[in-house]
Symmetry: C2
Subunit: 204 residues, 2 copies
Amino acid sequence: MSDWPGDPIEQLVGLLARLPGLGRRSARRAALKMLMQPDRVMLPLAAALQAAAAAVQPCRICGNLDTRNPCGICRDPQRDRGLICVVEGVAELWALERAHAHRGLYHVLGGTLSALGGVGPEDLAVQPLLARIAGAGEAERVEEVILALPATVDGATTAHYLSDRLVGSGVRVTRLAQGVPMGGALDVLDEGTLAAALKARRDL
Amino acid sequence: MSDWPGDPIEQLVGLLARLPGLGRRSARRAALKMLMQPDRVMLPLAAALQAAAAAVQPCRICGNLDTRNPCGICRDPQRDRGLICVVEGVAELWALERAHAHRGLYHVLGGTLSALGGVGPEDLAVQPLLARIAGAGEAERVEEVILALPATVDGATTAHYLSDRLVGSGVRVTRLAQGVPMGGALDVLDEGTLAAALKARRDL
């Protein structure tokens, strides 16, 4: 190992350590593993990074990241264009897609309102959402907006704000159900979730 | 997110997921973070990977990975050439270098002997080590070999094997001390370590 700055190994470790989930220690392990077999992982990864950086961009309609613009979801004729699911970020959009549970379109807000964090409506894609709903043609009229926002104070604030802004638009506004997660053991669940699950109980 | 194979995003996630310490979930998070700011992390990382793959190679003397061959440590005139520290892999070499505790040279074995894993002496850099000791000139005579091998059954087997092979070479063979790690709470330490630490106790 060499200690002078500009050393390719140290530079690689430094960049890997910036990725979420990798600390300096695991970045070093990852670099080492790659250095042992440069052709199998290292050069393909370099090529993949360049290809993705060149090809991927935010969708101008919904904010999803994709190689096409509008993105594959917005272009998909099978999707219900009357149903828009509002999410905080692209990570949440991808998670919902993996669940194969939503057959409509999406709208990426780019965050949630936060008084403490100084995030106001003008910092989020609120105006584009309203414009999208107002501007939809007769055939593509938006019937329902599903607010799939985090179950946090900021998420709830954002949901209330959006629901206020949508009053009078004729659009139905819904939010995700709260309750016990699949496979979740009751004794490790927080009280808030338990209370919400009990309150929203359903007949068998 | 798109599902067709050959999609740049999926390809990038797949390659990132092969790194140690990154599962598929964290690979996706890392890819997403990079895609949000391609110029700050993605393209520099691609360049660093290519630079390191092109520049880094195993040292022909000790087996360390470096941009120079022989490596920076083997070239360093300040290093004690009479002292060789034998390590399992480059990761261990780097860890010892970070500790700034060894002022001699290294020798990377490339593993440990393992009856179960089918690893014999011919699979490790044993012969190069013996040749290195036998071939050293008068001025660079090897005085001591420190076996810095893991405190496992395979590590101990390897240490015994090497120490046998070095009998009669006139070289002093030592191994790392075993005991309580710095800051280690006694109640969570395994019994083997505790017994070893007690046996190797020293006067204050």
